[in-house]
């Protein structure tokens, strides 16, 4: 397994697209699943959603937010990833529902591309909302051409409507009946969307980016409370019904290693200098 980086492209500030050669992942991956990368000996294990597949390669879209993702984003075409394990996680429950609404926020847009594609294949009517802080953060727009409707919202109004995704979602639900919803993005967005869905009693899938170690159900570190049951995001998820997620403890767990992460990143930046390449 060589895991060569075949293509790399910058999509937005700090957001990079990679195509990685790995026939095992590309042959078996289904929408909603993820891989885990390890860049070198003693490196961290980095979970990333599989965002598209080709014959012998697959795509991930990475947002640089800490030491390991910075390091990953510094790699170039022709470099290799030491370990790629996947596909992991349960595939999205894609089938015929009728009217589907799919919301992607920020780098979460990468994760909804395969889901939208599959939903269309299953003959659903699919409306898509892409959300971002400003117009620079709206990525992959042209990959949603086959959706019935594509809407764009930005926090600052620099592209599309000025709104948060959940506000726009509320408006759409007022106008149209949806049978199923997906919302993938920052946890604040997924939480807000889940509240809207709960109010209207519509099932909503969210994809949780819990902190993981192994990704195989072995450490229990990715646990989340779903409808008062402990679930392991890596093997029971990563997608869960957002109406049942205990968002408060989920968000607190995401901040577990804040202090350590800061130390690691500043130490790294001391070594490599200003991240102009981001």
């Amino acid at each position: 397994m060589k895991n060569k980086i075949l293509e790399k492209r910058k999509l937005a500030y700090g957001v990079h697209e990679f195509w990685i050669e790995n026939p095992i992942v590309s042959k078996n991956a289904k929408a909603g699943q993820f891989v885990i990368f390890r860049l070198y000996e003693n490196g961290e294990r980095i979970p990333l959603t599989i965002s598209a597949v080709n014959k012998d390669s697959f795509r991930v879209i990475v947002k640089a937010i800490g030491k390991s993702t910075y390091e990953l984003c510094r790699l170039n075409k022709g470099d290799f990833i030491l370990d790629v394990v996947g596909p992991l996680g349960m595939p999205s429950e894609v089938k015929y529902y009728g009217n589907a609404l799919v919301i992607g926020g920020g780098v979460g847009i990468a994760a909804i591309t395969p889901i939208v594609k599959e939903l269309i294949k299953e003959k659903n009517n699919v409306d898509v909302i892409l959300g971002g802080r400003s117009k620079e953060y709206i990525i992959l727009e042209n990959e949603f051409k086959n959706a019935n409707n594509l809407y764009i919202v930005t926090d600052d109004g620099s592209l599309g409507e000025k709104a948060y995704p959940h506000q726009f979602m509320e408006k759409m639900i007022q106008e149209k009946n949806y049978d199923i919803i997906w919302a993938i993005g920052p946890s604040k967005m997924m939480k807000a969307c889940s509240e809207v869905a709960k109010k209207h009693d519509i099932k909503i899938w969210v994809s949780l980016n819990s902190i993981m170690v192994d990704g195989t159900g072995m450490c229990g570190g990715c646990r989340v409370r779903i409808g008062n049951k402990l679930k392991y995001t890596c093997v029971d998820g990563p997608e869960f019904d957002g109406r049942l997620v205990d968002w408060e403890s989920f968000e607190k767990r995401l901040n577990q290693y804040r202090k350590e992460e800061k130390i690691a990143l500043s130490k790294y930046l001391q070594e490599v200098g200003e991240p102009t390449w981001l």
């Binding site: 003693n42 370990d83 394990v85 596909p87 450490c219 229990g220």
Partner: protein, 457 residues
């Protein structure tokens, strides 16, 4: 006749060793090993062998040590056990071979584990290798899923017999619990690596980073292989699931140990994966896993207490580990059960509410049942709690395997030889028995290999 005392192995000073991850027990010198071997009575009807799950010819290999024929001894040992350097270090000898040695009646049993380790280490240090070229190659393909002791043993047995063997492991390294669970100070990783190298020499194709079930579907395996052995372990941690289980600072022992052993978190920030340490760490449980977590935590500089709901007599850990933990400074608070975790406003653990227990009548396990004493609640301060209270079957593969029968606890149903409900599919180790031991997992692998050989030769 006075029986000579059993000779002690060399152990590092507790106050020195509790600060690093180097090995605690240094084993025997040649002289000590020979002396100890000479104590063996060479019983014509050796009870020690009956106590060994893989039936090693114990008097046989010990006799050769007494005769200073170390290479000969190694050959005897290897005939029965493919991982002697590992077993010599981690087997619960006191309840197996040593527990059955006749010398128990008149004094102390032979130190069989330390002798086994001595010979295995001697062979490693002297580059002694067995003749591993199989006599004939057989045109049959076997898939091994999971590279823990069960999978490793099955792979080596079948490869030696001439089969073509593909081994799949989801981690980036082989060894299973031996690399991510059992810490370096008890079992150096270099020893597990040695074993993996041997497998490669035998011609086993090792594929790491493969989640079987998701990357390769069971159907595909059934089409491609003449037999399949499943040794995926019982790695999924259980939680008591008391209030506050989501708090930051509450770990399963598996996560804590994986961060340290596999991801080298004790070197953070030189390594990338962090682990919370804090001043006070409480470890919950009384098995080997609890001891390993506690002693690892101690080495990271914490003040460590083990909380266990029964008394020390009922602790399932190896006696040696309990002794080592105490010597190194782990505190024990027995007859105590946590009932609630207490956190601060940021979701960080600050304390554990516990209740005192007393022992009642023996339960089904034969051990006296712990009963809570009403109104005895109290709080232990802690910023990290590590639960080591047991595991569940690993679902990664099982959830994908249609038609594979499981028992009511979710483990694979298999007979004594590892035969499952599906023809061609065998299973062994923790995924059949639930959490057990290295040697039992190896024994299961050996038995399955023997019936696979019979069926396919």
């Amino acid at each position: 006749m006075a029986v000579k005392q059993r000779l002690k192995t060399i152990e590092r000073n507790p106050n020195e060793r509790n600060k690093d991850f180097n090995e605690v027990n240094l084993g025997y010198t040649q002289e000590l090993a020979i002396e100890e071997a000479k104590r063996c009575l060479q019983c014509p009807n050796p009870t020690c062998v009956q106590g060994c799950p893989v039936g090693i010819d114990i008097p046989g290999f010990i006799k050769k040590i007494a005769e200073k024929d170390f290479e000969g001894s190694y050959k005897v040992l290897k005939k029965y056990n493919s991982l002697p350097a590992i077993c010599g270090r981690v087997c619960p000898q006191e309840i197996q071979c040593e527990g059955s040695c006749v010398l128990n009646k008149v004094g102390q049993p032979i130190s069989i584990g330390a002798l086994e380790r001595f010979i295995a280490d001697w062979a490693i240090n002297n580059n002694i290798e067995e003749d591993i070229i199989p006599e004939k190659r057989i045109n049959k393909k076997i898939a091994i899923i999971g590279a823990g002791p069960a999978g490793l043993t099955t792979a080596s047995e079948l490869s030696k017999a001439g089969f073509s063997v593909d081994m799949y492991e989801v981690f980036h390294d082989v060894g299973g619990v031996l690399i991510y669970g059992i810490p370096e100070f008890r079992l150096p990783k270099s020893i597990v690596k040695k074993e993996a190298q041997l497998l490669k020499k035998l011609g086993v194709n090792i594929f790491t980073n493969i989640p079987v079930g998701l990357a390769i579907h069971p159907k595909e395996l059934l089409e491609k292989y003449d037999a399949i052995f499943i040794g995926v372990g019982a790695g999924t941690p259980k939680f008591m699931d008391i209030e506050g289980t989501e708090l930051n600072g509450v770990y399963s022992a598996n996560e804590f140990l994986t961060r340290i052993n596999l991801m080298k978190a004790y070197k953070f920030p030189q390594s990338d994966t962090p682990v919370k340490i804090g001043e006070k760490i409480v470890v919950i449980g009384g098995g080997n896993t609890a001891m390993d977590a506690a002693r690892s935590a101690l080495r990271l500089g914490a003040n460590v207490t083990i909380v266990y709901r029964r008394s020390e007599n009922e602790m399932p850990a190896r006696k040696e580990e309990i002794k080592h933990a105490k010597e190194e400074g782990v505190k024990f608070q027995t007859l105590t059960q946590p009932v609630r975790y207490i956190g601060d406003e940021n979701g960080n653990l600050i304390g554990i509410e516990c209740i005192k227990m007393e022992l009642g009548e023996p339960d089904e396990s034969g051990r006296r049942k712990p009963i809570p004493i009403p109104n005895s609640n109290f709080i232990i301060e802690a910023s990290v709690a590590i639960e080591a209270i047991g595991t569940n079957p690993n679902k990664l593969l099982l959830s994908q395997f249609d038609g594979l029968e499981l028992n009511k606890w979710g483990y694979i149903k298999a007979d004594e030889f590892g035969r499952t409900s599906i023809e061609k599919v065998f299973a062994g180790g923790d995924i059949v028995t639930g959490s057990a031991t290295v040697i039992l997992a190896m024994g299961a692998g050996k038995k399955a290999a023997s019936v696979i050989k019979q069926a396919l030769y």
